[in-house]
């Protein structure tokens, strides 16, 4: 689960980390009031969406797509600037490298007090899957695209693995300050912030914290000028206060509903819907559709123990996508029995009056019974024995209709 920058900053502030004063706004009037409250000096006016690359993104009119403004993060030097920027941001679509071409509607704004920057750094904490422990990454090349830095100058990224049983050791924090060539008061300020940030990461079950940029001010203090915070979905049960920060408007509504029904769904751009049990097999099913010349419309894993109701919900979710012109069901019944799936498929197609072609491949437990139920249903359901055969059939059926 991700949160907005303004929410992350508030959590940082509560944790005693160095952030600038700032105000969350949803209207131009609030933005102007925030400017006054912050002392009427230089402020940053920042679009709030759950995607990176905001500064280099562009804002567009939601109706006609016309360019409104370049840059989703602006420095305002006076009241008039704040008014202009807030007007250009709120209610418009921000397109960045990470949002895709469709962009995201901006409903939230963060007005943050400015600071005099001497240098920008990059700082992140994440879980290193291979070493199986938290990893701190830092670089003197702040504000840049870190993936680009990693590719071109990997030696410019300093990495510190933190043993979970020891926590972040003072010498590790100091070593990192040294790598970043900090001096004097900035060292203490950095050590305090990185230690606090690491504790924040662990105590809140974060999956990732990225600060790009972290800055050193002209008076040699460290300030966390950005806050991209992600939480481990599996650990949300112990952080009800974090769950409350969730902004569902930032998430694909169908994906949210699928999750509530115990299904795992990701929308794609193709026209062949897939309903599969198991995440690996669901990915493989998409791959094979593509291999035989089709385009998958979605990833959908119904899980290991799906019942008739979940299968019906899954069909409903797939069919909500207007691009879908056919559906491939691929079930390898282990614990899940194929006869139950077959009944679910029939109930769902009848309940939803499915007209698009449907290919069903059932193997595993009770597959003979499952196939018999389908063939005796009198419905227009094609069956297949292998995944390849199923994919070829659905690609042909969909291709023939368009």
């Amino acid at each position: 689960m991700n949160i907005h920058e303004y929410q992350g900053k508030q959590l940082f502030r509560d944790a005693g980390l160095s952030v600038q004063d700032g105000v969350h706004c949803t209207t131009v009037e609030q933005a102007l009031a925030a400017y006054d409250a912050l002392g009427g000096d230089v402020v940053a006016v920042k679009s709030q969406i759950h995607a990176g690359g905001r500064g280099k993104g562009s804002l567009h009119n939601p109706e006609n797509g016309e360019l409104v403004m370049q840059g989703g993060v602006k420095i305002a030097f006076n009241r008039q600037d704040v008014e202009n920027y807030a007007q250009n941001i709120l209610g418009n679509i921000l397109v960045t490298k990470q949002t895709g071409a469709g962009g995201k509607l901006v409903n939230n704004l963060y007005v943050e007090g400015g600071c005099k920057i001497a240098h920008e750094y990059y700082l992140a904490i994440l879980i290193d899957r291979e070493e199986k422990m938290p990893l701190i990454m830092a670089s003197c090349e702040g504000g840049m695209d870190i993936e680009e830095v990693a590719e071109k100058t990997p030696e410019a990224i300093f990495k510190v693995h933190v043993d979970p049983s020891d926590g972040l050791l003072p010498e590790q924090a100091e070593g990192l300050a040294d790598s970043l060539e900090l001096e004097g008061a900035a060292i203490d300020s950095f050590v305090e912030n990185i230690t606090g940030l690491f504790n924040f990461f662990v105590s809140n079950d974060c999956s990732m914290v990225e600060i790009n940029p972290m800055v050193r001010t002209e008076d040699n203090r460290i300030v966390l000028l950005d806050a991209k915070v992600g939480f481990d979905d599996n650990a949300l049960f112990r952080h009800p206060e974090i769950v409350e920060l969730r902004d569902l408007s930032e998430e694909e509504p169908t994906e949210v509903r699928a999750k509530a029904a115990g299904l795992s769904y990701v929308k794609l751009d193709g026209n062949i819907g897939c309903l599969v049990n198991g995440a690996g097999l669901a990915m493989a099913t998409m791959d094979v559709i593509k291999l035989y010349g089709g385009e998958p419309a979605n990833f959908l894993d119904v899980g290991g123990g799906a019942n008739e109701e979940q299968v019906t919900t899954a069909f409903g979710i797939i069919m909500e996508d207007p691009n879908v012109k056919g559906i491939l069901v691929n079930i390898f019944g282990g614990i899940m029995r194929c006869d139950i799936i077959a009944r679910g498929v029939i109930a769902a197609t009848q309940a939803l009056a499915l007209e698009d072609p449907l290919v069903v491949r059932l193997v595993g437990t009770n597959f003979e019974e499952g196939r018999r139920i389908l063939s005796e249903s009198g419905l227009n359901i094609h069956t297949a024995e292998t995944l390849a055969e199923g994919a070829q059939k659905i690609v042909e059926l969909v291709g023939g209709e368009s």
Partner: protein
């Protein structure tokens, strides 16, 4: 021999009195697994009916291992307790008999709990953790065998192909593919799709390389992380037996989590194309379609003079 789990391994079930625990313990007994009992805190002294077999329940893993000399345990406890269940099992096996295999089926364990559990297990010699979020491990036998997990037992048959996979149902697909060319399996292991897990690809490949019963291995990967690339490098340097593979997620969009907690492409890393290329470069023949794994395996067996 098989790897890690013998056909007659004695197995305990942690969380045996829960719905999932009882259901799957019954299925394991049906298959022929020697379930010697289980553990649920505060339910010690009770028994659980596993389709006609009464299985004893202990409060703690130490008591259960002392009473049964179990070789392995399988964990079906809810996510929030699973990390501590792994640690309890590791300590108990270590204390009572000095070794043991822990298979954790539970899906949805907080990552930092797994970081702690894996760190703990790694400090104790003789303890192997498989999973979490996996179908488990199965060693098919002449009559039944040892199935420790949630996989469909009946699709397996004892023979000479090792199978290792991140995914559950895709493992079934690989198993069915070995059967389609009249082969069978020595041991099949699901290592799970979580970002932080116990046993990895290389552990399995090394064990298969040293196992007399295994002549070739099917390795199934998926997007996310770099475990496949590292395994490929290891195979190129150390493996004499043929390995064939498949990587799921060629069409997965970047930045999206595809069902498994660990299955996502981040920062352009962890793509199926990269993994497939690394595996091919290491001499691992990869199928483009899981329905072709059997054919690719057959060619590799022929090339190695095994068919």
């Amino acid at each position: 021999m098989s790897i890690w789990i013998a056909e007659d391994a004695k197995v305990l079930v942690q969380g045996i009195t829960g719905n999932q625990g009882t259901f799957h313990a019954t299925k394991m007994v049906e298959y022929g697994t020697d379930i010697v009992g289980g553990v649920t805190p505060r339910k010690g002294g009770q028994t659980v009916d596993l389709g006609g077999v009464e299985a004893p329940v202990w409060d703690t893993m130490v008591e259960a291992i002392e009473a049964t000399d179990a070789d392995a345990s399988v964990i079906y406890v809810p996510p929030r307790f699973a990390g501590s269940a792994i640690i309890e099992a590791a300590d108990a096996f270590s204390q009572v008999r000095g070794n043991g295999v822990i298979v954790c089926i539970t899906e949805g364990i907080p990552t930092l709990d797994m970081v702690k559990a894996v760190d703990h297990v790694s400090t104790i010699d003789g303890i192997r953790l498989i999973g979490p979020n996996c179908p488990g491990i199965i060693t098919p036998g002449e009559n039944g065998g040892s199935k420790i997990g949630i996989m469909a037992g009946h699709i397996h048959a004892k023979c000479r192909i090792g199978v290792v996979s991140k995914s559950g149902t895709l493992t079934y697909e690989a198993v069915a593919q070995t059967m389609s060319i009249d082969e069978g399996q020595s041991t099949c292991i699901g290592i799970g799709g979580d970002p932080v897990n116990g046993t990895g690809f290389i552990d399995c490949l090394a064990a298969f390389e040293n196992d007399d019963q295994t002549v070739a291995v099917v390795m199934i990967g998926e997007i996310g992380g770099t475990a496949e690339e590292e395994a490929a490098e290891w195979v190129a340097e150390n493996m004499s037996k043929p390995v064939v593979g498949f990587v799921a997620g060629m069409t997965a969009p970047p930045g999206k989590r595809m069902g498994h907690a660990g299955a996502s492409i981040s920062g352009g890393k962890g793509t199926a194309a990269e993994k497939g290329a690394a595996m091919e470069a290491a001499g691992i023949r990869c199928a483009n379609d899981p329905s072709e794994i059997g054919a690719v395996l057959l060619e590799s067996l022929k090339a190695a003079g095994l068919r």
